[in-house]
Amino acid sequence: MRRYTLEAQNIQKSFGGVRAVDQVSFGVRPGEMLALIGPNGAGKSTCFNLLNGHLKPDGGQVKLLGQDITGLAPRRVWKRGVGRTFQITATFGSMTVRENVQLALQSHRGELARIWSPAWRLRGGQADTLLERVGLAGQARRPCSVLAYGDLKRVELAIALANNPRLLLMDEPTAGMAPAERVGLMALVAEIARERGMSVLFTEHDMDVVFGHADRVLVLDRGRLIAEGTPDEVRANALVQEVYLGSGFEPEAEPEPGEEPPAC
């Protein structure tokens, strides 16, 4: 088996003078849940954008299943098996939940050039299966524009799963949700990842979620990778404690369930 599903080697990106991502290297192992944490502005979202092609790195390399995908357009990265959810939820507001997922499935099957067949006839069953899996079967016929925020996150998840990704990138999948909902969503993601043997790289502010679901944790601070390891190792890391000092992250204390996350 391959050692890494995705490998980032010395990737970097600057905006003006700011080094948003500075010589970062890491690998995502097959089937693992890897958390990317760090204070606000650390460069997590930028990192994701470099991985899936929304931004071109100034330097470094990104490899997916051993193949160089550096600088490929997002849609090409997607075609090679990377799904993504956004920090600000992004769905198609003029379509129903089911149509959102159907469209992603149709795109995956290369059916978008079919201008003469009715879309509702294609991939409806598969869309229903996916929606069932993320717990949205009851909402399938509702327009995305009227959905609650937590449900939109699930729609995004279903869309991201449509191309059977080898790797799922989730930028703050639980931001803006109630604490109980968060744990529920991440538990679902972990379960799906296990079923499919899919790797998940996610950023998260809620330490309950991170320590509850991550197999490994990467810590980013001001664009640099400052720590990497199991949740316990990271918790014990002095540098990490320093970075998080005063922002509510207390690695020694067991986080109380239901507690508000650190302000972000």
């Binding site: 357009a73 992004a90 507001g93 003029s94 379509m95 469209l103 992603a104 978008l112 869309i159």
Partner: protein, 615 residues
Amino acid sequence: MENLLLQALNGLASASSLFLVASGLTVIFGVTRIVNFAHGSLYMLGAYLAFSIVTNLPRGHLGFWGGVVLAALAVGAIGAVLEMLLLRRIYRAPELFQLLATFGVVLVVQDVALLTWGAQDLLGPRAPGLRGSVELLGLRFPLYELVLIGIGPVVLGLLLLLFKRTRWGTLVRAATQDREMVGALGVNQRWLFTSVFFVGSMLAGLAGALQLPRESVNLHMDLSTITEVFVVVVVGGLGSLPGAALAALLIGELHAFGILIFPKITLVLVFLVMAVVLVVRPRGLFGKAQVAQAAVASVAEPVLGRAPPQLKWLGLVALLVAVVAPPYLAGDYALIVLTDMAIAVLFAASLHFIMGPGGMASFGHAAYFGIGAYGAALLTKWFAAPMVPALLAAPFCAGVAGVIFGFFCVRLSGVYSAMLTLAFAQIAWSVAFQWVELTGGDNGVLGVWPDAWATKLHFYWLALGCSVVGTLALRRIALSPFGYALRAQRDNTLRAEAIGINAFEIRWVAFVLAAGFAGVAGGLFAFAKGSVFPTALDIPRSVDALLMVLLGGVQTLAGPVLGALAFTGLHEQLVRATDYWRLVLGGVILLLVLAFPQGLAGAVRQRWEARRRPG
């Protein structure tokens, strides 16, 4: 050599007046984000008002310059009232809706001017003391033109001072850069917007008033000015004052020298420059991306659904009547109107395809209609082609134009995209207008009659058939995976790219399809009229199509059909009933925009759904 100098000076003079009008438009856009179509009408009003005031005041310096200033102030006041009564209510409406509303004002002003000042061109008095000319390097150059050349830079200087040195100017600049900031500053935003409209309109009025000694005042000043000014403002970068100045200079000189070097294609030249600038610098020379793009202006479009069965039956019955009834109708007139309606429906549906599902703003859809019409007409004229092959060639010609123009247009978004479509349409129009050997220019292509087998009734059936099949085909495409992908890139480009959708390709193909269907409508139009004139692809025709789509509503597939029928019917009735149909049409547009910002079909559907779900 002398000739060159003279042309350069002429160019400067027209650049100066172009800048006056453009500066007003660009300042207004910068703050309010409204592209004010009626800005040219304000310019025209400036000229008319100056005529009335100056001719009624005692002759002399005070009479002339006092009249000019009074006219400018009056136009400023009109602009402020316009803002308070109309524009204030539609700041949050979609861009094209705003454009439509201001076009309603254009129509109203046209007829108000006609009622007040009559149809003849008016010749104003010359400026006292500036009637002669001066010797410049052995050349005689009109003194007034020289003064005009000076006024442009002076106004630019004053405006820059106003913006840099006053609190009002600081607020305007802040609002131009970042709209949210004004709200955050706790400023009385309403007052700021109204005052900006006052200043911008006043500049247009001033420019119009200053034309008095140069040329006759007429009812065509509004549209001819607004197109040029659009070019200037877009080339300079919307919202940028120095940009407007530089672009005015560029366009003014281009006109002056274009006449010397390429007398045949001066018009093409201007729009070509605009197209090139937009392709190279999509936001114009000095235009900047907005700092705070309001986080995805998500006016969530409603879900496109299949029509309720009752509506389908209604449509079917209407169609049946449209097929069966005409033979029993008396006279050719009804057939002509019905044929026009059928053509209009297809034209509107094709525009709707890129505007609605595609989310692209086209201000030059008439190009494809007209190219289809010319394609068919020229085939019959030069190759004596029969009707059917000529009709088949129409969508092909329009589609080819769509491939080329669309390649550039679909890369841009919003107002800039709309303006680029306008530029290409004007290029097509200029070719039709100026390439007299091929197209007959203003005299058009005549004698494009249907084959002998096709009576008026047969031709109507043919047009109806093409229209129905075309509209249903567009509908089917809109509901195909391709159509969904098209809507996906409109709803959320980021997400669309992240699920493998190539937004550029999808938009391009959609654009070409829309162009092709518009071409079919154009081909039918050529044979219905028996002739084609440059008006087949001019701005008013593009606006007609926009009106139909926006009246009907962008959000539903039935919208353009209803809109086209309503518009054609209304237009036809109005033209027959009154000489002042523009006034009524403009008034109706304004009322509709204010009452139904969703368009007719949207409103009908809402009522319908509210009735069906009582409580």
